[in-house]
């Protein structure tokens, strides 16, 4: 168990910069999720931590040990691969025992540990089988058992659940999380699935185009995204974004968009003093709005009201997503439960002012 | 020794190893081409490792006096006949294996894979008796029929893997729009499979072009090129032909194969991968 520190690591493949000056500390025993779209450099980052790739520049520390140029075998790490990489020519037992055999554990110790890991993952009865005889979910369990059997300092997981079906994925999510809490091993988990990131991570590190954008606990990343990218990448349906102009009115600072105007409370208006008469990006999550007269579930202290018409309704059963036309744009509103509502009907949309976001148009960084 | 020098050393080792292997393979070919055109004096001059005076005399004599030109013609005819027969038999079979699921499919496929390794001499020797009866002995068609038996398992396996690569949905889409299965095959699958089939045809060509045992046994006057060459050149002590004719023969036999490999090199590894799995 160890703290992992990445210091300005950069990885270039030819002219392409996969990871750019990434600095990040993963605390001892922490479950950190590296989240981002495909090609954002998260897997490359993981592979540099594993030693399968070497950074072009920068340093990687495990505690006070500089491991930047160490080969994987000298790092005491484990990894769960996206394709599981469970070797087809070895039985489940031999697969799990492999890391121990390489490290020359005595025979009885190997046996004890394999049984322990198999029991943790509930695959004791599969030990004699070959991978070809296992289902995807079972292979996944073998891969995890093999990764924890040596009690690594750092456990790396590269999209381990992406090849499972939806139901199994939810189940394994919980199991991996519980397992990690039990073993207290420093874990770095790569995924492009924001739900996975939200439910599993102690902290989430969001990456895009080789850059680290934001690191923080899931709730913080969700409620205080520091950029448009993070704001839209996390949450489904994604956050509504609209270009608005900041106006100074006699009642205070207001946001003027196409077909609506939102007057901001004084404390929020304060942030936008320097943006008067400039265009900014206004963001609001679908779940932070409601439609007046339909549902009063949204208990908000401070609210604004805008007008729109119902354009389309997605009835999901547990939620209803109303697409409302405001000006020329469509805004999505998420309301819990089933809400019958007619198309074309004019509605008053209530916005929770304590959950609004405003971003700078050019830097795309958060202002509020 | 630091990481960088070790890395460079490894690289040097890799390249020198590869260089050695490539030279080992390419040098004899180049030497045989040079010697094929070497003048007699240069060849017998012990000082001249690489000849400097060249002549086309040997190649010409071999082609037009010793019958290699007729051999080439015969070889081409046999190879083309082999391609036509083995493809018209092999394509339907390959298609059936690629696109249908039916009882006994695995057994049939495995038998075809096994037949691919059937020893050719076993087939050729008894075939003589049959060919004498059928008046096929010493005919090019006879050789082509035997070559087809040798090439057919490969053709079936290669075409089935080519057809398997053409999505079933493309064909089904055509069938939905009112084309028959046969029409869908000719309009959709065949055009898409064409480049692969062309490579497979070249593969078959080389197989037939290079085959010597069957051709030597089944023909006497109408010899294919390898059979013709073998009968002129055979044996070190008994070989009647002077050495420079042998070099010329090596050149004539190798050239078409090398041209083939140049055009089909993209497919070669994958094709051998398919046929040899």
């Amino acid at each position: 168990m160890v703290e992992v520190r990445l210091e300005k690591i950069t990885k270039k493949f030819g002219d392409f910069t996969a990871v750019n000056e990434l600095t990040l500390t993963i605390k001892d025993g922490e479950f950190l999720v590296l989240l981002g779209p495909s090609g954002c450099g998260k897997t490359t980052t993981l592979r540099m931590i594993s030693g399968l790739e070497t950074p072009t520049s920068g340093k990687i520390w495990f505690g006070d040990r500089d491991v930047t140029y160490l080969p994987p075998k000298d790092r005491n790490i484990s990894m769960v691969f996206q394709s599981y990489a469970v070797w087809p020519h070895m039985t489940v037992y031999d697969n799990i025992a492999f890391p121990l055999k390489i490290k020359k554990y005595p025979k009885e110790e190997i046996d004890k540990r394999v049984k322990w890991a198999a029991e943790l993952l509930q695959i004791e009865e599969l030990l004699d089988r070959y991978p070809a005889q296992l289902s995807g979910g079972q292979r996944q369990r073998v891969a995890v058992a093999r990764a924890i059997v040596v009690e690594p300092d750092v456990l790396l997981m590269d999209e381990p659940l992406s090849n499972l079906d939806a139901k199994l994925r939810v189940m394994m999510r919980a199991e991996i999380k519980k397992l990690q809490e039990k073993l207290k091993v420093t874990t770095i988990y790569v995924t492009h699935d924001q739900v996975e990131a939200m439910t599993m991570g102690d902290r989430i590190a969001v990456m895009n185009k080789g850059q680290l954008l934001q690191v923080g606990p899931p709730v913080e990343v969700y409620s205080k995204p520091n950029s448009i990218f993070v704001a839209t990448f996390i949450g489904a349906p994604e956050m509504n974004l609209m270009d608005v102009t900041v106006k100074e009115t006699d009642k205070g600072i207001a946001l003027e968009g196409e077909g609506f105007e939102i007057l901001l409370p004084e404390d929020l208006g304060e942030f936008l003093k320097n943006y008067v008469n400039k265009t900014v990006v206004f963001g609001i999550r679908p779940e932070h709005m409601t439609v007046e007269g339909i549902s009063e579930v949204l208990h908000v202290k401070r609210k604004a009201k805008i007008k729109g018409t119902v354009d389309f309704v997605e009835a999901l059963g547990t939620d209803t997503i109303i697409h409302a036309k405001v000006g020329g744009k469509i805004i999505k509103i998420k309301i819990p439960g089933h809400v019958p509502i007619g198309l074309g009907r004019p509605v008053d949309i209530i916005i929770d002012l304590d959950n609004i976001h405003v971003f700078d148009k050019s830097t795309e960084k958060a202002i509020i | 020794m630091n990481d960088k020098t070790r890395f460079m050393l490894k690289k040097l080792l890799l390249y020198s190893f590869l260089f050695t292997v490539v030279v080992w393979i390419v040098l004899p070919i180049i030497v045989s081409i040079l010697y094929a055109f070497s003048s007699k004096l240069d060849y017998y001059d012990p000082q001249k490792v690489i000849p400097t005076h060249y002549t086309t005399q040997w190649v010409k004599t071999l082609l037009f006096t010793l019958g290699a030109w007729d051999g080439i013609k015969n070889s081409v005819i046999v190879a083309i006949l082999t391609i036509i027969i083995s493809f018209s038999l092999g394509i339907p079979a390959g298609y059936a294996i690629a696109k249908f699921i039916f009882p006994g499919k695995d057994t049939i496929k495995l038998s075809i894979i096994a037949l691919r390794m059937f020893p050719i001499p076993v087939m050729a020797i008894p075939l003589v008796v049959l060919y004498i009866k059928l008046n096929l002995i010493d005919t090019l068609l006879g050789v082509a029929l035997a070559h087809t038996a040798m090439a057919l398992p490969f053709v079936v396996l290669i075409t089935s893997s080519i057809f398997a690569g053409v999505s079933k949905e493309l064909e089904e889409a055509a069938m939905v729009f009112g084309v028959t299965r046969l029409g869908a095959f000719f309009r959709i699958t065949l055009p898409l499979a064409l480049p692969g089939l062309a490579a497979a045809a070249m593969f078959t060509f080389v197989m037939s072009w290079n085959e010597v045992f069957v051709a030597s046994i089944l023909t006497l006057k109408n010899r294919t090129l390898p059979a013709q060459i073998l009968s002129i050149m055979a044996g070190s002590s008994g070989g009647a032909a002077p050495p420079y004719y042998k070099f010329a023969a090596a050149f004539i036999m190798t050239l078409p194969a090398m041209i083939f490999i140049f055009f089909a090199r993209k497919y070669l590894v994958s094709m051998w991968g398919i046929t040899l799995k």
């Binding site: 990489a85 | 490539v22 004899p28 000082q47 075939l127 073998l230 008994g238």
Partner: protein
């Protein structure tokens, strides 16, 4: 109709193969064991009484035993090297697979050019002052050198096929299998021994089978480089058929090749079995 279609498509090819392989087998048995319609062992007696038969058997097997292990070893190294990415790889690959298209007759002629008394190698060594007399490779009194020449030619020509099979097998091994082993602490040689070689077993098996069966039929190169100085089974069959016109003895040579092929093929399948490929739920 729908159910019958695939069988109808397969029928011509299957019938053709059954005829061209089944008929000669029956005919060979008939030719070998009958005379004037009666069963006889005369042909067998004549064959095994001929020292050339035992010589042919010996040399055919000896050539296979010497050539194939070296080919496997070379092909493995080459495949591992060629499975990396480096500059000039395409060119190297092109060179490596050239011999695939060269026939054994042409290969024999090419190496005759290299090794004959006034050939490239002898002239080169003489001019470098490494030898004073040419090394004789050919002629009955240099049989061992003829054997060596055949070995060299077969290594040169037929290693490519083993190489290509193994390379194709190597390319099918997922990179993650190797990376997983690397992460779990296996060094290069351990990865080779524990992961690559076991996963290559099916490819090695088919390469060995194909090469061995071809080796049992070796003919063209031997005929070109050594004639009957080094008798081999296919060559003797050819000789008996075309020069002696003894169909019975020729058929026994053919049947010997078939029997050896089946025996060796079965042995490879049995002893190189990859257990993990057999289990299916």
């Amino acid at each position: 109709m729908k159910l019958r279609l695939p069988y109808l498509l397969l029928l011509p090819a299957v019938l053709y193969l059954v005829f061209f392989i089944g008929y000669p087998l029956v005919q060979a048995l008939y030719l070998a064991f009958t005379q004037n319609g009666h069963f006889t062992l005369d042909n067998v007696r004549r064959t095994i009484g001929d020292p050339y038969f035992w010589q042919a058997l010996k040399y055919t097997i000896a050539l296979a035993v010497v050539i194939i292990p070296i080919q496997l070893f070379l092909a493995l190294i080459l495949a591992v090297v060629m499975n990396r990415t480096f500059k000039g790889k395409d060119l190297a690959l092109y060179a490596l697979i050239i011999p695939l298209t060269i026939s054994d007759v042409a290969g024999g002629l090419i190496w005759y050019t290299m090794l004959t008394d006034a050939g490239f190698l002898n002239k080169l060594l003489l001019n470098l002052g490494l030898i004073t007399q040419p090394i004789h490779f050919f002629g009955y009194e240099y049989r061992n050198m003829e054997f060596l020449a055949i070995v060299i030619e077969e290594l040169w020509r037929a290693t490519a096929i083993v190489f290509v099979i193994i390379l194709a097998g190597l390319q099918m091994i997922s990179k993650e299998y190797l990376e997983a082993a690397e992460v779990f602490g296996a060094d290069y040689w351990t990865r080779m021994r524990k992961i690559v070689i076991p996963l290559l077993k099916p490819s090695i098996q088919s390469a060995l089978i194909i090469r061995t069966l071809f080796a049992m039929q070796v003919f063209g190169v031997v005929w070109i480089l050594a004639g009957r100085d080094i008798p081999v089974l296919a060559g003797e069959g050819f000789y008996q058929l075309t020069f002696i016109k003894d169909y019975g003895v020729a058929s026994i040579y053919a049947l010997t090749i078939a029997a050896l092929s089946i025996l060796l093929g079965a042995m490879y399948v049995k002893f190189l079995k990859a257990e993990y490929l057999e289990v299916r739920t």
